[in-house]
């Protein structure tokens, strides 16, 4: 190897900087020489570590066990969010006071909106613009005189079953939330929805004074 170094056309590298064990390989290409340094140890271990990591990873995620795929993980996350939502809400009763309280809780209205979207849009249309069922955005109502009637219609149905009873299909919490959402739709239309049906009723009650109950424990989301 020493011979190779002396053969080289290039000036020899400044040896005081380099490891004394430095040696050049025996050939130069267009004047380019190459040291014969060993591989960096950190690099070898990094590469080996990933190689060792790969088989257990593949085995864990792809051995067919349920609940480990990305889609399953997503379902679990969903379930947790829902559990969280209902535990925050507690067991509510379907009465007028509760309904009015939730009518003015924006974050809960959004939960009600998802219930609405999955169960009600088929007849009441997107955001309650009306379809087979009446428009929910205007001031006209067919079976509602007071806000509490929404709860009743939802639980028991109306129009001889054209509006089905949801009592057995939705939980009380969901009924309260979706009722609050439906109430909140009033006045949101731009007039492009289904023509009004029924009669004009009095406005909804005002927001109740702030109270110290379960909804205060959570931070305002916005």
């Amino acid at each position: 190897m020493i011979q190779a170094m002396s053969d080289s056309k290039h000036e020899s590298p400044d040896s005081n900087q380099d490891d004394p064990a430095d040696s050049l390989t025996d050939q130069s290409f267009d004047g380019i020489q190459q040291y014969d340094h060993p591989l960096p140890v950190w690099w070898i271990w990094l590469f080996v570590a990933v190689l060792l990591f790969a088989p257990p990873y593949v085995w864990y995620y792809h051995n067919g066990t349920q609940g480990r795929s990305l889609a399953d993980h997503h379902e679990q996350e969903l379930a947790e969010v829902l559990k969280l939502q209902f535990s925050q809400m507690g067991e509510v009763t379907a009465d007028r006071e509760t309904l009015v309280r939730f009518l003015y809780e924006d974050s809960w209205l959004r939960v009600g909106r998802s219930v609405f979207k999955s169960n009600c849009v088929a007849c009441h249309g997107r955001e309650g613009v009306g379809k087979v069922g009446p428009n929910l955005q205007d001031d006209h109502y067919k079976n509602i005189g007071d806000i509490a009637d929404i709860l009743r219609v939802l639980q028991q149905g109306a129009n001889a079953g054209a509006m089905p009873a949801w009592k057995s299909k939705l939980s009380t919490n969901e009924i309260v939330l979706v009722s609050a959402y439906v109430a909140s739709l009033r006045g949101s239309g731009d007039g492009s929805g289904k023509p009004a049906e029924g009669r004009v009723i009095a406005p909804w009650p005002q927001a109740p004074p702030p109270e110290t109950d379960v909804t205060d424990q959570q931070k305002s989301p916005e």
Partner: protein, 775 residues
């Protein structure tokens, strides 16, 4: 002269290098200008609206293509033509092929420059160019470039090939194969083709091409450039021959498998995604081997040459590759990828690689080569230094705000309140994005100014050249080094005298990699092995998607082909390059399904020819767009996106409102799609009637909501925008139409059916379906 063997003489042909280098710099400047124009469109979407060929969706792929094929492509050809001759001690095998290669490559770039703004596109990421251009790329690469390169290797006067040549060879061979991925199309006319693959298969093919194009055009051959020009410029030996070998083979063995990592959390089967992730990690480490080798080579020269601008260009280029490699490895991890995918981070990542690594290396090489090619000193060394700082500053101004924008976007998209509700609207990140885009625009301008400085310096140096170039003649004894016996002593293990098994001694000798010297003598062996790896990766990753389609892409009964009008709408979507700003892929992530609706299923996408999953969300995802807005909203939004959302970066598509639907073309589209396997029945004969019926029903809806009956002389139902709206109202409709709705309005025509579906299904998130079952 030894042994009476006659001496041979040879000289190098540098005129081809001068050609390619000049083209590199000119195209680089053009690319920078186009990129600046494109970037300014995001900030001033109204400035050029109403002109179809000047819209973001059409010009953005052009900017990428110019940087890839014109700047990086010509740059690496200059490097290859210069260094290959010297490393092989022979001129290129054929001057004529070199000449043909140069001019046909420029013609390809020019045709990209002409066709892409016309909306002539395959609509496939990184493979936008239409089939005649793709065929030309393949032919030029194989016949004019690869053949010449390979024959030069065969006629070399060095026994062994230097490491740069392995990298070049790998790129040359692999690109011949990779290019085929752009040809999975069926020509439907001289400038029009349909993708043979659909949905999941096509999306994977797109990325298989995209990733490997980046690998074999921007990374592998540029390592060849580094291994030649860095030790030359630094005047130092390469740090480690062994590390070069390991760098090369690990990069080749793992790099080509990484494509699926760009499709984490999509409808791509998860096994492929996991494969992409693990190989992505290894890939990052393989790149780091080369980075370490180059940095350690440069380290020794730090004292002597730190003042040399060329040295600085190379140093910064290699450092940026190191950063990009670590980033790449991180992004291959699924959960990290989920944070920043589709955000501006990914664009910044590409910019870092393209401008930081490829750009800096090409510029460094250009400054090193210019005095040698023109055989005179550079016109101004100060200008080189100035350009370095302009390039670095411009680059950082492009990349750093991009990262910031990506982080903010990610936060806006993902933030949920205590109750699991989304906290922000999609558009809430727009004001911050606009600030970052302005910084990036400044960065692009600075980078472009740097190019002007360089072009001036290059031009002045060219003017300074002496009348005729001196062509040095080299002599070598005719026996040539090629037939010299294998160099180096027979290796002896250090364990030779130690009391160990024979196998340990053999292993010790093997690990010194002396056996590789024999491999370096055979271009055929290295080329063959590279081809084998590429084919193996293709067979394992891509082929099963086609062969085992039923398990990888489970069919969904509810998914029906697009109606004739929707098919035209989709064609418009592809032509206008909507996928450059909108994805069509909802990932199984909580904030995403809450925002857009249920995550995308593989089976819903089977009629998507080509797949339009997208890479970047400047605008929201559209996979579940059906019914979210009224058709009238879309109509107004296409005419003036800023009317509803002043911060929107979307340009106006007023011309779609003014252009009449070509009903003849609809029939052609239906026939073509049917020919490629879409199960059409009555559509084949009645497509025009069905299309006009659906257009009328959408127009009626628009008019009933207060829209115009006509615009100028064009009736609303006759406007192309209606076709696009029909398509948008269909996206995601099939899976989300509540079964009850289908019974109610017994549809008379499929067209009416789709409209109904579109109106009633409003992107119901899976969350809500689950809510239904929760007590």
């Amino acid at each position: 002269m030894l042994g009476g063997v006659p001496e041979v003489s040879y000289s190098y042909d540098d005129s081809i290098v001068r050609k390619f280098l000049t083209a590199t710099l000119i195209w680089g400047f053009v690319a920078a200008v186009v990129a600046v124009v494109v970037a300014s469109m995001l900030l001033y979407p109204g400035a050029v609206s109403g002109t179809d060929w000047l819209s973001f969706g059409r010009l953005r792929p052009l900017a990428t293509t110019l940087f890839l094929l014109a700047f990086a492509g010509n740059g690496i050809f200059a490097a290859i033509y210069y260094s290959t001759q010297r490393l092989c001690k022979t001129p290129m095998w054929s001057r004529v092929l070199g000449w043909l290669h140069f001019w046909s490559w420029q013609a390809i770039i020019a045709s990209a420059l002409i066709t892409l703004p016309q909306g002539i596109t395959q609509g496939r990421g990184y493979g936008e160019l239409e089939w005649p251009i793709d065929v030309s790329v393949s032919i030029v690469w194989m016949l004019f470039f690869a053949a010449n390169f390979f024959m030069t290797l065969v006629h070399r006067r060095e026994r062994r090939m230097y490491v740069s040549l392995w990298f070049y060879l790998a790129a040359v061979v692999a690109m011949c194969l990779i290019n085929v991925c752009t040809l999975f199309v069926f020509p439907q006319g001289p400038l029009k083709s349909d993708s043979l693959a659909t949905g999941v298969q096509d999306a994977l093919l797109q990325w298989w091409y995209g990733h490997n194009l980046l690998l074999f055009l921007l990374i592998v051959p540029f390592f060849g450039l580094v291994y030649y020009f860095v030790p030359k410029a630094a005047n130092r030996p390469v740090h480690s021959y062994k590390l070069s070998i390991v760098n090369f083979w690990t990069l080749i063995l793992v790099g080509v498998w990484v494509a699926p990592q760009h499709l984490h959390y999509t409808a791509l089967p998860e096994w492929a995604s996991s494969l992409g992730m693990l190989f992505g990690l290894l890939f990052g480490i393989a790149v780091l081997a080369g980075v370490a080798n180059a940095l350690l080579t440069l380290r020794g020269a730090a004292d002597q040459t730190s003042a040399d601008p060329v040295y600085r260009f190379f140093l910064v280029g290699v450092i940026f590759l190191g950063i990009a490699a670590v980033e790449e490895a991180m992004l291959s991890i699924k959960s990290i990828n989920a944070l920043v995918h589709y955000t501006e981070w990914m664009t910044a990542h590409l910019e870092l690689g393209l401008l930081g690594w490829n750009g800096m290396l090409i510029l460094g090489m250009a400054y090193w080569l210019t005095p040698k090619l023109f055989q005179t000193g550079l016109w101004s060394n100060k200008a080189v230094s100035l350009h370095f700082w302009l390039a670095l500053g411009g680059l950082l101004l492009c990349v750093v705000p991009g990262y910031a924008a990506g982080i903010v976007q990610s936060g806006v998209w993902r933030s949920m309140d205590d109750l699991g509700n989304l906290q922000y609207d999609f558009v809430d990140s727009a004001p911050f994005l606009k600030r970052m885009w302005s910084l990036q625009l400044v960065g692009g301008l600075v980078y472009a100014v740097g190019f002007m400085v360089m072009l001036a310096n290059y031009g002045m140096t060219w003017l300074k050249r002496s009348g005729a170039y001196e062509v040095p003649i080299h002599y070598q004894d005719g026996s040539s080094e090629r037939i010299r016996p294998v160099s180096g002593p027979v290796p002896v293990s250090v364990l030779e005298t130690a009391p160990v098994l024979n196998i340990a001694k053999r292993l010790d000798i093997w690990s010194r990699l002396n056996w590789h010297r024999q491999w370096e003598e055979s271009p055929r062996r290295i080329g063959f092995l590279v081809a084998l790896v590429v084919l193996l990766a293709f067979v394992v990753e891509v082929v099963p998607m086609f062969v085992f389609a039923a398990s990888n892409v489970p069919p969904l009964a509810a998914v029906k082909p697009y109606t004739p009008l929707e098919l035209l709408g989709r064609q418009i979507y592809v032509t206008e390059g909507c996928c450059n700003c909108h994805t069509q892929m909802v990932r199984p992530l909580m904030p995403e399904t809450l925002r857009y609706g249920d995550y995308s299923q593989p089976g819903e996408l089977v009629h998507d020819q080509p797949a339009q999953w997208g890479k970047r969300r400047i605008g929201p995802d559209l996979a579940r767009e059906s019914g979210k807005q009224t058709s009238f909203w879309h109509w107004r939004h296409l005419a003036n996106p800023q009317e509803d959302e002043p911060n929107s970066a979307m340009p106006s598509y007023r011309y779609l409102l003014d252009r009449p639907i070509d009903f003849e073309k609809i029939n052609e589209l239906v026939q073509a799609a049917h020919g490629l396997g879409v199960p059409y029945g009555s559509e084949l004969t009645g497509s025009q009637e069905m299309a006009s019926k659906q257009a009328e029903s959408i127009a009626a809806d628009i008019v009933s909501k207060g829209g115009p009956i006509r615009r100028g002389t064009l009736m609303t139902y006759d406007a192309e925008a209606v076709a696009l709206i029909a398509y948008l109202q269909r996206l995601g409709a099939d899976l989300l139409a509540p079964p009850a709705a289908k019974k109610e309005d017994a549809p008379t025509t499929p067209a009416a059916d789709e409209v109904t579906k579109g109106a009633i299904s409003s992107g119901i998130p899976v969350a809500d379906r689950l809510a239904f079952h929760t007590p």
